[in-house]
Amino acid sequence: MSFHFDCDGIRRRNFLKIGMLGLGSPSLPQLLRAQKKDAERSFIFVWLGGGPPQMDMYDMKPEAPEEIRGEFKPIPTKAPGIQMCELMPKTASQADKLCILRSVTSVDLGSHERSSRYLQSGVLPVPNMDFASFGSIYVKEKNLHGEMPPFAGVLKPIERGWGGGFLGAEYDPFMAGDPSEKNYQVRDLLPPKGITLDRIGRRRELLKEFNEAWRAVDSEAKLNSYAPSVEQAYNMIFSEKVLKAFDIHQEPEKIRDAYGRTQIGQGLLLARRLVEHGVKAVSVWMGGWDTHAGNFSSLKTKLLPPLDQGFGALVEELAVRGLLENTLVVQIGEFGRTPKVNKNAGRDHWPKAFSVVLAGGGIKGGQIIGATDKHAAEVTDRPISVEDLSATIFTALGVDIHRVNHTPEGRPIAVVNGGKPVVEAFA
């Protein structure tokens, strides 16, 4: 038997043995089950750039003094005993499918950039290189290729850390743009004006002749990456399925309205559409959460209603269409916000304790994990590190968290940098 070298070295084949030794917690077999049916998992990563306020959304403190509890009141949700913000009725109606991690705790890294790099990759940022985003690692580890791009990005990335990093640009998400635009279409998927598909086909043939005539024998990796990429590009251009997947205009008006005619609403709808058509990882980026001033008015007018409508519709629809079981949804930002409201009616950065929401992908809904103190300031129960969160995400996606990738210089980077999955999150 070969032994695994990393710490927390619980490789799948070691699981049972360790369990028998009495080390395993009772939920390890459940984890095992979660890892087994991993083949078709999809991943929707909803990024709230700027840092969403935990105590105004999923971890409300109605008993706290006004300068902490803020302006909003909690409402009951579909899940008994779980409350959330009154501005999130749609999300509340799906709470039975949500697992709310209230005790995520990060490191104070100062800037949005560094914190975003941390929370998008699960690895503490270093100055001289970029780590890979969760979606990039997922498609790399599962070797996902096909007619559809395996990893897509919807709307615009906010801070660095959203792409393939050291794994290379081939693991960047395929950028789908902003589907709320009136005549939305994906860049370069349709031929330029005045060029028919027929002519594209003739050019393809010509290009093939040129390329075949030149330099047949070569194993240069960068030279060789050309042919499959061009092939994939043509396959996408000529694929009804790909065109259809990105064609949000095919959605019934009723459904488009249900998600809300907003950037995030249509973005989440496109994410669902892409997953349905075989895209394996989708990142959807929503900005504007850095509410140093006017926290409550921003939340009320610009942030919570569109997010709530879109996110509630996404979870509901994934469930109705039978996709939720095999789709992991994560709603997350780079940190939380200060419990105490500042003089500009804003809240500042707070990495010490904040909430992350999980749904689907083998996650058990209707539950809250962890707790913070009466001001949502410190974790009082079940601290979950960013590495633990990363381990939870990859476990749900069926990725071996101990696998190690190497940078081009040979530096080893583990999929998860030493975290343990939150086992109680799993059904």
Partner: protein
């Protein structure tokens, strides 16, 4: 990106048994006897107990650099009376549950040595006990010649009292190229079927070595006779013979013309250039061409771009005023061909306001001056060729630079302070001679030192950057000439002799050490005039190798037996399309730029430049050269090329409106894009296509489009 699996920490099998006789040492020393076991077991790596917060309450120093602390951490987990009950034995042997899994077995020498140490009372050791001086690895370099052949390595510890000890079983091994040699934890390296050299990294008790071994799967090499006599070729061909790799032939004039244009000026030769060069019968026409290209203003444009990448000139850091002054200064440096030592000296000793003084931008970052730490990291990567930044956080397992070296370098730059100017986005560099940098490990001011050398002792109030810059740019400086020569070599050859170019270290040896020394000596001998080094390289047969591979060098990516194709840089590709179609791009807000290569800032909004991966200038690193799906989609459906090809006053419209016959038009098109006439069969095929098309304009548009998207066009080859 060459995937070099360098398994620093992941070692699969730890199944050493204790068949060898075991004698405990006479005098114990914690750091020479116990630390290696913790390193061997991986206990002190960053994912385990070497993490800054330890693991499950047990914390070791990363890679065992602080033996006193590790000793304190360990003694609480020992049972001197019944050693076998000690947690430090039971955990790694998995006699009790261990989150880190099994590390070594009860019957291993590691277990026994640790047990013997505990039995001996777990001493820390005497201060005057012999300490480890170095490790030696045998045998010396050799080339293995069949697949699956094994080479046992022997690691000998040499102590300060000259005693020696076989520590092979306690050493950690890894190969920097596992397609050539894999190495087992037992120290046996085995050939894997790849041809080339591999460095085997060996670690024991904080010391390391990186001996190199070769393997070849070829019976013999065919080398030209007589062997080329250029000093570069002598080095390159000696290695090729050793590894039995047959080099490619010399490239054609067409290839040489296009290659040197792209490498030296970042432009394509025009059809007229091509005609003239191909027709010339001058015996030294290649050398003459290189001389001409080096005198073109486009040479300065390309070098400015390359250096702006390297120096991370970026309006986010330097603002528009800063990138412009930086850009203008760099361009002038290269137009006047100021030598590289002067360039480095100007940057490192700059003063003044960054909107007025170009080199002052070297010291800036986000509207303000960089910290001494940031400057140390940048100077390490750009001018010393070392990634000393890693030592900011930890002593590197394979690197001699320590945290103290790092802070001593940072201290060189600590006197620089920012003085506000009227413009809030600008900074003014002044000197405050008394400012210091605190080394967090000692909590004291770090002593400024030349990297790995003496204290920089300047008179009170003096600028120590001047002393540092003089030291750095001296001919005999061990870093500068080599780092610069390696960068120039990489630019010309597609790969650094040390790769990545900013990562010189003993455990990342150059592929051709003597060649690197030679290039560095040449460059210094030319008084750092880089044009002369470019000429020297371009004159070699090695630079003039064809990029077409043969059966024995298909898989060669580092011995220069063929010329490695390079994808055009984003800016160069954009300009190449503009040049061929005769439709220059316009750059809003950057009127001084006529071509993308001349853009002073990489923030200029352009999807084309983004998708072809211009440098993001956030980190100093090589550009990506792979072709991605987004790029391919942009080739196929992107509007730029289509518009430029089809526009009524473009080059193709001129050709179509001229009296050129179809075959002449084709020839013109090929010369302007690929610097060669069409091959006869190619010409026939295309003329047939033209003849059978019902729209002459469209079919030529399609041909030009296909050329601009072809591998032959996109790659410099």
């Amino acid at each position: 990106m060459a995937p070099r699996a360098l398994l620093l920490c992941t070692i699969a099998a730890l199944t050493l048994s204790a068949q060898q006789p075991f004698t405990p040492p006479a005098r114990w020393n914690f750091s020479t006897h116990v630390t290696p076991i913790l390193t061997f077991g991986g206990c002190n790596q960053s994912a385990c107990h070497g993490s800054p917060v330890g693991k499950n309450g047990f914390k070791l120093s990363l890679f065992g650099y602080e033996p006193e602390k590790d000793y304190q951490a360990l003694i609480g987990r020992l049972n001197i009376k019944s050693p076998d009950e000690s947690l430090v034995l039971k955990k790694p042997a998995m006699l009790v549950p261990h989150g880190g899994g099994p590390r070594f077995r009860k019957d291993s020498r590691h277990y026994q040595l640790l047990r013997a140490w505990i039995t001996a009372g777990a001493p820390f050791g005497d201060a005057d006990a012999p300490s480890l001086a170095r490790i030696e690895v045998t045998p010396p370099y050799r080339v293995l010649t069949s697949k699956g052949e094994g080479l046992p390595l022997k690691v000998t510890a040499v102590y300060s009292d000259h005693t020696r000890d076989d520590v092979t079983a306690f050493s950690v091994f890894s190969s920097n190229d596992e397609s050539i040699l894999k190495v087992a934890p037992t120290g046996i390296a085995t050939t894997q079927g790849g041809t080339g050299d591999a460095a085997i990294m060996v670690r024991y008790a904080g010391k390391f070595a990186a001996p190199v071994y070769g393997a070849t799967m070829y019976a013999s090499a065919k080398t030209p006779a007589p062997l080329p006599q250029h000093p570069i070729d002598r080095e390159i061909y000696a290695k090729l013979r050793q590894l039995r790799i047959t080099p490619s032939a010399v490239c054609s004039d067409e290839e040489f013309l296009r290659r040197t244009h792209l490498d030296i000026t970042g432009t394509l030769p025009t059809a007229a250039d091509a005609r003239q060069f191909l027709a010339s019968s001058a015996p030294n026409k290649r050398a003459l061409l290189v001389d001409q290209l080096l005198e073109k203003p486009e040479y300065a444009d390309l070098e400015t771009l390359v250096w702006a990448d390297r120096l991370r000139s970026d309006s986010r850091f330097h603002r528009v005023g800063g990138v412009r002054s930086y850009f203008r200064w760099l361009k002038e440096e290269f137009l006047l061909n100021r030598p590289l030592d002067k360039l480095a000296y100007s940057l490192l000793t700059a003063r003044g306001a960054n909107f007025a003084s170009g080199p002052a931008n070297y010291w800036g970052n986000y509207d303000k001056i960089s910290t001494p730490i940031e400057t140390a990291i940048q100077t390490g990567q750009v001018f010393l060729g070392v990634r000393i930044g890693c030592a900011q956080c930890h002593n590197h397992p394979f690197e001699k630079w320590t945290q103290s070296d790092f802070y001593s370098l940072a201290a060189v730059f600590s006197q620089v302070v920012e003085f506000p100017t009227k413009n809030t986005q600008e900074f003014d560099l002044r000197l405050d001679p008394n400012r210091a940098v605190i080394n967090p490990a000692t909590r004291r001011a770090a002593e400024p030192r030349y990297l790995g050398g003496e204290i920089i002792d300047v008179a009170p109030g003096e600028d120590r950057r001047i002393a540092f810059a003089r030291w750095l740019t001296a001919r005999e400086n061990p870093f500068f000439a080599r780092a610069m020569a390696n960068q120039i070599w990489r630019h010309m050859m597609g790969r650094g002799l040390v790769q990545p170019v900013d990562d010189f270290r003993e455990t990342n040896p150059p592929t051709h050490p003597a060649l690197l020394d030679l290039l560095a000596t040449e460059l210094a001998g030319y008084n750092f005039d880089q044009k002369r080094l470019i000429r020297f390289i371009a004159a070699s047969r090695t630079y003039q190798h064809s990029s077409a591979a043969n059966e024995t060098n298909r898989l060669d990516f580092k011995y220069y037996s063929r010329w490695y194709p390079k994808r055009m840089m984003a800016e160069v590709y954009m300009d190449a399309i503009a040049q061929v179609t005769n439709l220059p791009d316009r750059f809003k807000d950057w009127p001084e730029a006529r071509r993308a290569t001349e853009l002073p800032d990489n923030r200029f909004a352009s999807y084309f430049l983004d998708v072809f991966e211009r440098s993001n200038r956030l980190v100093i690193c090589d550009r990506e050269e792979n072709v991605t799906v987004s790029q391919a989609l942009h080739f196929v459906n992107g509007p730029e090329a289509q518009e430029k090809i089809a526009i009524p006053d473009g080059r193709l419209a001129q050709w179509l409106g001229s009296p050129l016959a179809d075959s002449q038009l084709l020839e013109e098109m090929f010369l302007a894009t690929l610097a060669r006439p069409p091959a006869p069969r190619e010409k026939d095929r295309l003329l047939t296509r033209v003849a059978s098309a019902n729209n002459r304009k469209e079919v030529f548009e399609d041909i030009l489009w296909a050329i601009l998207n072809s591998r032959e066009f996109i790659f410099n080859h």
